[in-house]
């Protein structure tokens, strides 16, 4: 038998396995038909009973294509998940070999790599215009699944892999070449080695929010945090059979089904969750979280789909060119260039756009990228502010901008100069006055009734005035639990021998802290609002922005309503202005009592608004994390997009000279910690906090690893360099004041 035919039969067998795998038992009849045909053909070929085996083979192949095309129409969300996870799925090395003209892998060869899951390569693209050829360099960064090679860890990247990615993003920035990132990850690996999975992702996102080169991202498997670690891009393309989601459908099913450790979700529930999470390319295109869908062949691209690679090359080139052209200023030329490359039949290999950017163009590039992310997902939150209020806010915002500019950028600068001048004059005057009055003072000192400098002995025995007197009442707010006459056992009593605490003492005077070992019992968010900040200084804003159910997740409306009723708050994020000893600041508080403090579109919206308010008013900005369980999974990518979005807002605030501090209180995990919270240079934690990327249950579920005890305790986070200090709950106020004064400086704005 012809070796070539054998190869093609093998290929068809692979296609058949693939089809069986991705449909997981569905469409059996189609698969059986194909199998039957293939077996019959193979038998006859082997028996050499065929006159023209190539023609027969072609017809079998046609049949395969036909069936694949037909099945393509009713492919479900879960099928897509199985497609991107299949070992036959294209991987990054296939793309490097087929899309780019040449490449060198940087820092790694197969398993000899810092993290084989993260692949970094310098690649070149050769383009031709007329007779002239141009070679353009790009930095390609992406997760490598390696067709199921075990050491690749399925593209699940460890912190150091993400750190390497960030390092080479910086390199690309220095070299001024565009970055192409390829997202092939089910999520980052939840290991808390230096500096912690969440902390590293936060650093990556923060870095990407300010990268001064064009960034193009291509999403095949976009698993939440791992995807965002290299996903904040000017243009985000998505392969038509990929998925982009907040959590794997299995994970969502485990949460939805309230499964205990060791239990498995049913396939139906998983399928349903995959559907409800709206994870497909079309869904995300509709939401606006990706810019374009790259069409794949039926049932998804595999390494032998060479047409697809050519198509992908065109799309990637087009996206890069578009980003570069969009930074140009001359409208006519810009329009012409755009029109040229956007033509559907344009061959971008025969056009050339210079990818280098001027400094001003880089500024515009950055502004575009940041604006783009800030604009996303606004509609996914229910803004219940009355129309008039919204208009008033917008008008005031617009009208006050020049005044703020004048006040801080012009007046303050010159005010300082005037003050310096006045101080110098004052000093000179004092010296002059001293010389002038010296004879008179010599005279008066000798008089008998001259006063001594020291205070009189009367001060030592009489009652002095003291403003601190009567500060007996330590707390403005007591947890309602203090009314219950009950002894509470400290969880550490077995280890440290703490005696049981009396509830009324514990929840009132002791502020929920075990008086023996210092264990912190969780307190209500109100406790912090009323006890940390000056009494009566808290002014809440944007309270009308409500958490909703943007995906129409079945049954979730009721749960949101229940949470709103329970907490008497419209969303899990409370934003307010407050004072600490008359230092004004803007605070965004994630409340652990509202659906675990999870972050969705409304919370992100409020967070961004708070950061912008702080920026405008030149106030310090505090993110107080009473607790956060991560991104609200029922909002799908509406939630995930808050990670880059809020990070952009925070980066803009910090770069405008703001002081951004984060304080973690209880359990703080996943998305928010891996982005807009983790990117703060000043993160502190209350002793009670657990900080990390994924909780112990999730780690066990996804990796099978048993984690050491106290893995996520704040002290561990401190020693791995994630946070900068640990505070006692009773000293939050004093420590915050101290931090504001020392980090913030005199005008509380540290630049």
């Amino acid at each position: 038998m012809d070796n070539n035919i054998e190869k093609r039969i093998q290929n068809l067998r692979d296609r058949l396995t693939y089809l069986n795998d991705i449909f997981a038992g569905k469409h059996r009849d189609n698969a059986e038909l194909l199998e039957e045909k293939l077996l019959a053909f193979a038998e006859r070929v082997r028996a050499e009973a065929l006159e023209d085996p190539y023609a027969e083979l072609a017809s079998v192949e046609d049949l395969f294509s036909y069936v694949e095309r037909r099945l393509e129409d009713n492919i479900t969300a879960m099928d897509r998940v199985r497609i991107v996870r299949h070992p036959q799925r294209i991987c990054l090395r296939d793309i490097l070999e087929n899309v780019y003209d040449n490449f060198t892998e940087v820092g790694g060869q197969d398993e000899y790599s810092l993290d084989p899951g993260m692949l970094i390569a310098r690649a070149v693209i050769t383009r031709r215009r007329g007779k002239k050829t141009y070679t353009q360099s790009v930095m390609v960064i992406g997760q490598e699944k390696g067709h199921g090679a075990e050491y690749r860890n399925g593209g699940s990247v460890k912190p150091w892999g993400n750190a390497k990615a960030r390092q080479y993003m910086r390199v690309a920035e220095t070299e001024g070449i565009p970055i192409h990132t390829y997202i092939f990850t089910p999520g980052s690996f939840p290991i808390e080695d230096y500096p912690g999975a969440a902390q590293q992702i936060a650093r990556n996102i923060y870095c990407m929010a300010g990268l001064r080169v064009p960034v193009i991202a291509v999403i095949s498997e976009g698993g939440s945090g791992g995807a965002e670690a290299i996903g904040l891009a000017d243009k985000r393309l998505m392969l038509s059979h990929g998925y982009y989601s907040v959590i794997s459908p299995e994970g969502a099913a485990a949460i939805e089904g309230h499964l205990k450790a060791g239990e498995r979700a049913t396939p139906e529930l998983i399928e349903q969750c995959a559907h409800n999470l709206k994870i497909t390319a079309q869904d995300n295109l509709r939401f606006g979280y990706i810019d374009r869908v790259v069409q794949e062949p039926p049932l998804g691209a595999r390494p032998w789909h060479f047409d697809f690679f050519r198509h992908l090359r065109q799309e990637v080139l087009r996206a890069t060119d578009e980003v570069v052209i969009s930074t140009r200023t001359l409208p006519v030329l810009k329009g012409l260039a755009m029109a040229r490359i956007r033509k559907p039949d344009a061959n971008l290999d025969e056009m050339y756009t210079r990818w280098g950017l001027s400094a001003a163009a880089k500024d515009r590039l950055l502004a575009h990228r940041q604006q783009k992310f800030l604009r996303l997902s606004r509609l996914a939150a229910r803004d219940r502010r009355p129309f008039f209020t919204k208009m008033a806010v917008a008008t005031w915002d617009w009208a006050s901008k020049p005044w703020v500019r004048f006040k801080y950028d012009f007046y303050r600068k010159h005010q300082r100069r005037i003050r310096t001048f006045m101080e110098e004059m004052g000093n000179e005057w004092d010296v002059f006055k001293g010389r002038l009055l010296a004879p008179w003072r010599r005279l008066t000192r000798k008089l008998p009734n001259a006063k001594s400098d020291a205070g009189s002995t009367q001060d030592l025995t009489a009652l002095s005035s003291w403003s601190g007197e009567g500060q007996r009442k330590m707390w403005n707010y007591l947890s309602p639990r203090y009314k219950i006459d009950r002894a509470v056992t400290c969880p550490n009593s077995a280890a440290y021998g703490c005696l049981d605490l009396w509830g009324p003492d514990l929840f009132a005077e002791f502020a929920g802290v075990c008086s023996h070992c210092g264990y912190h019992f969780p307190m209500e968010p109100e406790w912090y609002v009323k006890n940390v900040f000056d009494l009566g200084s808290v002014f809440e804003f944007n309270s009308e922005i409500e958490a909703g159910n943007p995906l129409g997740f079945p049954g979730f409306d009721d749960r949101i309503l229940a949470a709103q009723k329970k907490t008497k708050s419209k969303s899990g994020c409370m934003t307010f202005e407050a004072r600490i000893d008359n230092i004004k600041l803007v605070v965004a508080m994630l409340m652990g009592t509202f659906r675990g403090g999870s972050v969705g579109a409304a919370e992100g919206y409020k967070f961004v608004e708070a950061a912008q308010r702080a920026e405008k008013k030149r106030y310090p900005f505090l993110a107080y994390v009473h607790g956060t369980a991560g991104i609200r999974i029922q909002e799908g990518t509406h939630g995930v997009i808050q990670m880059p979005r809020c990070t952009v807002a925070v980066r803009r605030y910090i770069e405008s000279g703001g002081l951004y501090m984060v304080l973690y209180d209880t359990n703080s995990f996943a998305g928010p910690v891996a982005s807009f919270l983790g990117c703060s240079p000043y993160q502190f934690a209350v002793r009670s906090s657990n900080i990390g990327f994924a909780g112990p249950g999730v780690i066990k579920e996804t990796t099978g690893m048993d984690i050491p005890p106290k893995y996520h305790r704040s002290y561990r986070a401190l020693s791995r360099g994630h946070i900068q200090g640990i505070w006692d709950r009773r000293e939050i106020r004093a420590n915050l004041k101290q931090a504001l004064l020392t980090i913030g400086g005199r005008n509380l704005y540290y630049r």
């Binding site: 020291a454 205070g455 009189s456 002995t457 001060d459 030592l460 025995t461 009489a462 009652l463 002095s464 003291w466 601190g468 007197e469 006459d485 002894a487 005696l499 049981d500 009396w502 009324p504 003492d505 005077e509 006692d728 009773r730 000293e731 004093a734």
Partner: protein
């Protein structure tokens, strides 16, 4: 008042004796005297203690509850509920001055009476800054220095400088300034300064220590008085808090090297027998008046002790207020008479008024007669820094006298193992005499007749402070 409840007659009450040893025995005897039931507690280590035997004797086995610790309020509350107690007597030590315990007792769902001042008073007078400020607001003399926490270094230096100058004016040769953490207690975070130039470094050290240890960097700056006598005023007031009376003064100047009292004498001075450099009568009168003024001001509603420092020049300064019954209450009771009647029991009075009975007599009804000396017999080595001695007591006898009261939880008819957990106080001996000379002579007689022997595990003989007490008897009440 928190403790006020509908009036229940004394014999319908049941008191939880939340203490051990000698004080527990005195409380139980007082209960019997009043016809009130009681419940006693003990730990496994204490099973052989006299208070357990006495409880069995007076109240039977049902009045005894074994607990794992005297320090666990939860357990005490459980015992109180199980035994149906209506009141708690904390004795001294343990929970006696813990306002949280008093608050818990009176605020819990099943309310009990706390036999002691109301928790607010315990809290108010337990705070040294608060007490000092209260005293100053009433023109009661306090140790010269600051009466509020100082946070500012310049201000601290100014005050220290004034305190030095003040002492120089007073003619003190080696002036000393005390810097102490205002949030501290129990001798922690206190340092002396003898040189004004040294002050700043000491101040900074204490401030940093206080910040680390107590999370508050406030310090107090005071004169350090070195040459003084330690006097006390015994105050008694009923729940109305309106008419406190005093039961005289005590002199507690004879102490161990660790500033623990070893010998107390009532009254505080003996001007008729000894000569003083100051008007001792007037000093005693003054401190009593000052103490009563303060008690009236806060509405003090139980027994308590005002502690005073009296300098060689006869200046009294308020030191602190102990809001509890004290070990040495018996010596004051010994010399007091109410309407001519002797045999006063201050603990019975405390229980009676604690349960809401009116006091029933005024200051005019209280007279004093003679002089009392209280010896604290302790197994310790006075020559070696008063190190406690632990072991077996084999013989413990004394000669009964009409003028002698012995209070002890140590059995005299069998061997006794001194428990290591608690202070090794073995007995209190109160000796009465009609004047200083007679009291001293009787005290020495008592000590001479006392037999106290024993051995420890290595066979070394028992060590006690009897010789120390003998030599100290010579110098009582002398400044």
């Amino acid at each position: 008042m928190d403790n006020a409840q509908e009036h229940i007659p004394l014999h319908d009450h049941k008191i939880l004796v939340a203490n051990r040893g000698e004080i527990a025995m005195r409380i139980m005897r007082a209960c019997c005297k009043l016809g009130t039931a009681f419940t006693a507690i003990y730990t496994a280590d204490d099973a052989a203690s006299g208070h357990v035997r006495l409880a069995r004797e007076l109240g039977g086995e049902k009045s005894l509850y074994r607990v794992s610790s005297y320090h666990d309020a939860n357990e005490l509350m459980a015992v109180a509920d199980a035994a149906g107690c209506t009141a708690v007597h904390p004795g001294y030590g343990f929970f006696a001055e813990d306002f949280r315990f008093a608050r818990r007792v009176t605020k819990r769902d099943r309310k009990l009476i706390f036999i002691g001042p109301s928790w607010k008073i315990i809290r108010e007078l337990g705070d040294k800054i608060n007490t000092k400020r209260l005293a100053r607001s009433l023109d009661v003399p306090t140790v010269p220095g600051s009466d509020r926490p100082i946070y500012d270094e310049l201000e601290a230096e100014r005050i220290a400088k004034t305190v030095f100058e003040f002492q120089e004016q007073q003619g003190i040769d080696h002036p000393l300034v005390l810097v102490k953490a205002s949030a501290g207690g129990g001798g922690m975070g206190i340092e002396e300064v003898y040189d004004p130039d040294q002050f700043r470094s000491v101040y900074r050290r204490i401030r940093n220590y206080a910040l680390r240890q107590f999370k508050d960097e406030g310090v107090l700056i005071e004169q350090r008085i070195t040459d003084f006598n330690h006097l006390e005023v015994q105050i008694v007031a009923d729940r109305s808090g309106r008419s406190p009376v005093h039961f005289g003064t005590r002199n507690c100047s004879i102490q161990s090297s660790g500033r623990q009292k070893r010998l107390e004498v009532a009254p505080g001075f003996a001007p008729e027998a000894l000569s003083y450099t100051f008007d001792a009568d007037r000093v005693l009168r003054d401190i009593v008046d000052y103490s009563l003024t303060m008690a009236r001001k806060v509405g003090y509603d139980n027994v308590g002790t005002w502690e005073w420092i009296v300098t060689r020049k006869g200046d009294p300064f308020l030191m602190e207020v102990n809001t509890r019954i004290q070990v040495e209450n018996g010596v004051s009771a010994r010399i007091a008479r109410v309407r001519g009647q002797g045999d006063i029991d201050l603990i019975a009075e405390q229980i009676r008024i604690g349960l809401g009975e009116p006091l029933g007599y005024g200051q005019a009804d209280i007279t004093f007669d003679g002089l009392g000396i209280e010896y604290r017999l302790i197994a310790e080595d006075p020559n070696n820094n008063f190190t406690p001695w632990v072991g077996h007591i084999e013989q413990f006898t004394w000669k009964p006298q009409p003028w002698l009261t012995m209070l002890t939880h140590v059995p005299t008819d069998e061997q006794y193992e001194i428990p290591t957990e608690f202070d090794p106080n073995l007995a209190l001996a109160i000796v009465w005499g009609k004047d200083l000379e007679e009291a001293k002579a009787r005290g020495l007689e008592f000590l001479r007749d006392l037999r106290l022997t024993g051995h420890n595990a290595t066979g070394e003989p028992l060590q006690s402070n009897v010789d120390f007490l003998k030599t100290s008897t010579e110098r009582i009440l002398r400044f």
